[in-house]
C-alpha cells in the first residue's frame, strides 16, 4: 500500500496562483487556505484512527489480566489472519459504496459460498482449486443478480440488497436444512488457515494481495475513477460520458465475487460450510468501511483506512473480551463504532461544505 499521491494534503502550502487585478474572487478561494491550526487538525483527522489503534493496543497490553497473551493475540499478523474474511468482505463492499450504492448482501453471499464450496467438495469431489474458483464464481453470480436488479429496477440498492440478503439466507437454509457441511473438505484447504510462510500466516498473503488489488482498482484505474465520479454525482458522471449503469453493475459483480472469496476463506478457517454465520459479517463490514473513511483520505472510502478500521474494531473487541466482558460486546462495540463513524463523517462533510462556501450557491436554474 503506498500512500496516495493525488489527494493527500490537498490544500497544504501550495503558493496561491497569481491573481489578475480586479477580477480575483478574494473571498472563497482565499478562505480555503489553511492556517497552522487547520493543518494540525487535518493531520489529526487523517491519523486519528491509527492513534486510537495504538492507544487501544497499549491500554489492553498494560491493563489486561494477562498482557502477554493479549499482546500475542493483538499481533497484527494474527489479527489480519483471523480477520481475513472480514477484510476481503469490507474491501469488496467499498467498491459499490464508492459509486454510491450499498451492498447489504455480502455477508449472506459469503455464507452461501462457503456452503456451496463445501458442497462442491463433499458431493462433486472437485479438486481444491476448482472448488475455490467455483466458490468465487457463485459469489459473482449473486453479485450479478444484485447488480441487474439495482440497475434495471432503478431502486435504492439499500432496499434491493436487504431483500436479496434475506432471500439468499433462505436459499442456504433450504439447501442445507440448517446443517453444516463438515465432511469431504480437502485437508489442504483446512490446513491453509493454520499454515504460514516465513513466519507470516498464509491467509495474510491472500489478504495483502487482495488489498493491493482493491487499491489498484479503486485508485489507479479509469474504472475506479469512474466509480468515484458516479458516487459524487450520477448526473454529472453521465454527462461526461461515463456509463453509469454499467459501472454500478460491475461494482456489484465485483463485490459479489469478493464475498465469494471471503466465503472460501471462511470455509478454510472454520472447517465447515456453516449456513448460520455469514450474515453476521455484513454490519461489521459496513462499520469498518465507514470508520475507514474517517482516516487517511478523510471523507472518502479507502482501502488502507478500512484495514486499520478492522484492526481497530478487532483489537478492541478482543481486548474487552480479555478483560472479561461477555460476547455481547462484539455487537455493541461494532454498532456504536458505526454510529460514531457516520456521525463524524457527516459532521466533517458539513463543516467542509460550510468552509468551502462563505458565499452562497449560485442559483440553480431549474424552476
Amino acid at each position: 500500500m503506498t500512500p496516495d499521491t493525488t489527494d493527500s494534503g490537498a490544500a497544504l502550502s501550495v503558493p496561491a496562483a497569481e491573481q489578475a487585478p480586479g477580477a480575483a474572487p478574494a473571498g472563497p478561494a482565499a478562505a480555503a487556505r489553511p492556517g497552522a491550526g487547520a493543518v494540525v487538525l487535518r493531520l489529526f483527522q487523517k491519523y486519528s484512527l491509527v492513534v486510537l489503534l495504538g492507544l487501544s493496543v497499549a491500554i489492553y497490553g498494560i491493563f489486561g489480566k494477562n498482557p502477554a497473551i493479549f499482546l500475542g493475540a493483538a499481533d497484527i499478523r494474527n489479527i489480519l489472519s483471523s480477520q481475513a474474511v472480514l477484510v476481503v468482505l469490507t474491501l469488496g463492499l467499498i467498491i459499490p459504496m464508492t459509486s454510491g450504492s450499498l451492498d447489504l448482501s455480502i455477508g449472506n453471499i459469503a455464507g452461501l459460498c462457503s456452503v456451496a464450496t463445501a458442497a462442491f467438495y463433499a458431493h462433486a469431489h472437485v479438486p481444491l482449486l476448482v472448488g475455490v474458483v467455483l466458490g468465487i464464481l457463485v459469489g459473482a453470480v449473486f453479485g450479478l443478480v444484485n447488480g441487474l436488479l439495482v440497475v434495471l429496477l432503478r431502486v435504492d440498492s439499500f432496499i434491493i440488497t436487504l431483500g436479496t440478503a434475506s432471500a439468499i439466507f433462505g436459499l442456504v437454509i433450504w439447501y442445507t436444512g440448517g446443517q453444516s457441511i463438515v465432511l469431504g473438505i480437502p485437508q489442504a484447504l483446512l490446513t491453509f488457515g493454520g499454515g504460514n510462510f516465513l513466519g507470516v500466516p498464509d491467509s495474510v498473503y491472500v489478504v495483502a494481495g487482495f488489498a493491493l488489488l482493491a487499491w489498484y482498482l479503486l485508485e489507479q484505474t479509469p474504472y475506479g475513477r469512474s466509480l468515484h465520479a458516479v458516487g459524487s454525482s450520477k448526473a454529472a458522471a453521465r454527462l461526461v460520458g461515463i456509463r453509469v449503469e454499467r459501472s454500478v453493475f460491475v461494482a456489484f459483480v465485483l463485490s459479489g465475487a469478493s464475498a465469494g472469496l471471503a466465503g472460501v476463506l471462511l470455509l478454510a478457517s472454520s472447517g465447515a460450510g456453516n449456513p448460520q454465520i455469514g450474515q453476521s459479517f455484513t454490519l461489521t463490514a459496513v462499520a469498518a468501511a465507514f470508520l475507514g473513511a474517517a482516516s487517511f483520505k478523510v471523507g472518502q472510502l479507502n482501502v488502507l483506512g478500512s484495514i486499520v478500521a478492522i484492526l481497530f474494531l478487532s483489537v478492541n473487541i478482543t481486548g474487552l473480551t480479555f478483560l472479561g466482558v461477555q460476547d455481547w460486546i462484539n455487537q455493541l462495540f461494532t454498532g456504536a463504532a458505526l454510529v460514531v463513524a457516520i456521525a463524524f463523517s457527516t459532521a466533517l462533510h458539513r463543516e467542509r461544505k460550510h468552509r468551502a462556501r462563505p458565499a452562497p450557491q449560485e442559483p440553480a436554474s431549474r424552476p
Binding site: 490537498a10 478574494a26 472563497p28 480555503a32 461526461v240 424552476p367
Partner: protein
C-alpha cells in the same frame, strides 16, 4: 425619484465599519452603508466581493467582527451582537436567491408558514380565517390567484412575489423597515424578470424601502435609485443611478475599464455545415431544422420551456430523439449516448453546473479529466504525472484561478468553477461545443473571459451552439441567432444582431405559439 437632499430622509438602514474575516481573510472590510427610507438601493459587486457576506450579516445568519454598528428601525446594535431576531425586530425582511417556498402547499399555507397559522380551540387551524387573510393579501399585491392554489401551479415570477409577500406580511405598517432581495431575478425566465421589476417599482412607489442585490447591471440601473458597489470586500462607491451608464458601472465593479465585455464577432465563419438538423422531434421539439456553420457561434433564443435545453441534450445523446436526422460534417449521426457523442467530438456544458457538471469534493484536476481519464492509463499504470502536467496547462490556458489543481472544485468561485467545466471540454478541441447558459451566476469579469475562451475555440475551428436567456448576451456574442418557438425554429437572425429585436421576436413568438 425626486431630488431630495440627504438630510430630508432619515436612513432606514445605517451600517458602519462592518467587517468579517473567514480564516483570517477579510471577506468584508469596514463597510459603511446608508439606505435611505423609501429608496431602492442596489448592492452590486462581482463574485467574492462581499455582498453576500454583507446580506448574511444583516440577516444575523453570520456574525460580524466587533467594532461596527448596525442601525435600523430605531434599533442600534454592535455588529457582533446582531442576530436574526434583532434583524426581524428592526424591520429587515429577506427574500433569498431561492426563496424557501413549498410548491406542493397552497399559497395560504405558504404564507402561514411565515406568520403562523391562525388557530382556534384545541390548536385547530382556522382555515376560513387563513384563507380570508390570504385573499386580502393577494388582492393587495395584485396576484390573480386563489389562496387554495398550490404554489407550484404559479409562474416563477408569482412564486417570487408570494415569497416577497410572506416576508412583508407581518410588518405593522408600510414604509418602515427594509425589504432585502438577494438576486431575486436570477431564477426567473427572461420575460418574467420585467414583471418582477415592475412589482418592485410598485412597492417602492408605495413607500417601501428596498435593498436589491444582483449580478444583472441593467436591472439594477433600471430599478434602483442608488447603487453601492463592492469590490474585494470594500465599498468602492455609492452613486445615484441618474446618468449612470452600464459601462461606468462595470468599471466600478471590475476596477478597470473593460473595453470589450464581449469579444469581437468573427467575420470569417466558413460556410460549411458543421452540424445540421432536419425535422428533429422529441419532447417539446416538433420538427427543428437548423444548420450550424463551421467556426461560428450560433445562438438559440427561446423562452424557458421552449425546448432550447432539450435541443442541446438531444444532440449530446442525453435526451431521447423521436424522429429526425442529424449530420456532423456531412455524415449522418444518430445520438444514442453522451459517450457516443463525445467520440464524434461533441462537447456539452449543461445549464445547471452544480447538479450536472461538477464533482464537488473532487479536486480541480480530477474534475478536468473526468470521463477522459482513460487516456492516462497505459500498460496497466495510471500516468499521474501526465495528468498533473495537463491540468497545470489547462489552469493557465483557461484562466482558472485556483491555488492548486488539488484544491476541491467546490472551493472555487462560480466563475472559476464554470471555467473548469469549460476547460474539461475545450482541452479536447471539440468539433461542436454545446453551451447552455454558460455565464449564469458568473460575475462580469469572468463572463467576459468565458466568451474569450469560446471565441478562441471557434478560431481554432470549433462550432458553438449557445443557449442564453439574456438577449443582450446573444446579440453580442453570436454570429447568428436562431429563434426557437413552438418546438420549431421560427427565424434565424443574421448580423447585425440587436437585443431588442431578439426580445421582440422571442416574445411575439410566445403569442404566436
Amino acid at each position: 425619484m425626486t431630488a431630495v437632499t440627504e438630510g430630508d430622509r432619515s436612513p432606514a438602514l445605517r451600517v458602519r465599519s462592518l467587517t468579517k474575516a473567514y480564516s483570517g481573510v477579510l471577506a468584508l472590510d469596514g463597510l459603511d452603508l446608508d439606505v435611505r427610507a423609501g429608496e431602492v438601493h442596489a448592492l452590486l459587486g462581482g463574485n467574492g466581493s462581499g455582498k453576500s457576506t454583507a446580506i448574511k450579516i444583516l440577516a444575523g445568519v453570520v456574525t460580524a467582527e466587533p467594532g461596527g454598528v448596525i442601525e435600523a428601525g430605531g434599533q442600534q446594535a454592535r455588529s457582533d451582537q446582531w442576530s436574526p431576531s434583532a434583524a426581524h425586530a428592526a424591520g429587515l425582511r429577506f427574500v433569498h436567491q431561492q426563496p424557501a417556498v413549498f410548491p406542493a402547499l397552497t399559497i395560504a399555507e405558504n404564507l402561514a408558514l411565515g406568520a403562523g397559522f391562525p388557530t382556534g380551540p384545541g390548536g385547530r387551524i382556522r382555515w376560513s380565517v387563513l384563507h380570508k387573510r390570504t385573499a386580502e393579501l393577494l388582492a393587495e399585491y395584485h396576484i390573480p390567484a386563489s389562496p387554495r392554489t398550490p404554489l407550484g401551479a404559479l409562474r416563477a415570477v408569482d412564486r417570487s412575489r408570494v415569497a416577497i409577500i410572506r416576508a412583508l406580511q407581518d410588518r405593522d405598517e408600510a414604509g418602515h423597515g427594509v425589504l432585502v432581495l438577494d438576486e431575486p431575478t436570477a431564477a426567473l425566465p427572461g420575460p418574467e424578470v420585467e414583471q418582477l421589476l415592475d412589482a418592485l417599482r410598485a412597492y417602492a412607489a408605495a413607500g417601501q424601502t428596498i435593498m436589491y442585490v444582483s449580478h444583472r447591471l441593467d436591472e439594477a440601473l433600471s430599478v434602483a435609485d442608488r447603487v453601492t458597489v463592492l469590490r474585494d470586500g470594500r465599498k468602492v462607491a455609492t452613486v445615484s443611478t441618474a446618468g449612470l451608464t452600464e459601462s461606468a458601472l462595470i468599471e466600478l465593479i471590475v476596477g478597470r475599464p473593460i473595453d470589450r465585455l464581449f469579444p469581437e464577432v468573427s467575420q470569417d465563419a466558413h460556410d460549411e455545415g458543421a452540424l445540421s438538423l432536419r425535422g428533429v422531434h422529441g419532447g417539446p421539439l416538433h420538427g427543428v431544422d437548423l444548420s450550424v456553420r463551421k467556426g461560428e457561434v450560433l445562438g438559440i433564443a427561446g423562452l424557458l420551456g421552449s425546448g432550447r435545453s432539450e435541443l442541446l441534450r438531444m444532440i449530446f445523446g442525453a435526451y431521447p430523439m423521436l424522429a429526425g436526422s442529424l449530420a456532423i460534417d456531412g455524415q449522418a449521426y444518430r445520438p444514442t449516448s453522451p459517450s457516443a457523442a463525445m467520440d464524434l467530438g461533441i462537447a456539452y456544458v449543461p445549464e445547471d453546473r452544480q447538479a450536472d457538471a461538477l464533482f464537488h469534493a473532487a479536486s480541480v484536476r480530477h474534475n478536468l479529466s473526468a470521463g477522459q481519464d482513460g487516456r492516462y492509463f497505459r500498460h496497466l499504470l495510471f500516468r499521474h504525472g501526465a495528468e498533473r502536467r495537463d491540468s497545470a496547462r489547462s489552469i493557465s490556458e483557461f484562466l482558472i484561478r485556483a491555488q492548486s489543481d488539488r484544491q476541491p472544485v467546490q472551493t472555487l468561485s462560480g466563475g472559476n468553477q464554470q471555467k473548469v467545466v469549460l476547460a474539461r471540454w475545450l482541452r479536447q478541441r471539440p468539433r461542436l461545443l454545446l453551451l447552455d447558459e454558460p455565464t449564469q451566476g458568473v460575475d462580469v469579469a469572468a463572463r467576459s473571459e468565458i466568451y474569450q475562451l469560446v471565441r478562441r475555440a471557434t478560431a481554432a475551428g470549433s462550432s458553438v451552439l449557445l443557449v442564453a436567456s439574456e438577449m443582450e448576451e446573444l446579440a453580442h456574442v453570436c454570429d447568428r441567432v436562431a429563434v426557437l418557438k413552438g418546438g420549431r425554429i421560427a427565424a434565424v437572425v443574421e448580423q447585425p444582431l440587436d437585443a431588442h429585436q431578439l426580445t421582440d421576436l422571442v416574445n411575439t413568438s410566445e403569442a404566436a405559439a
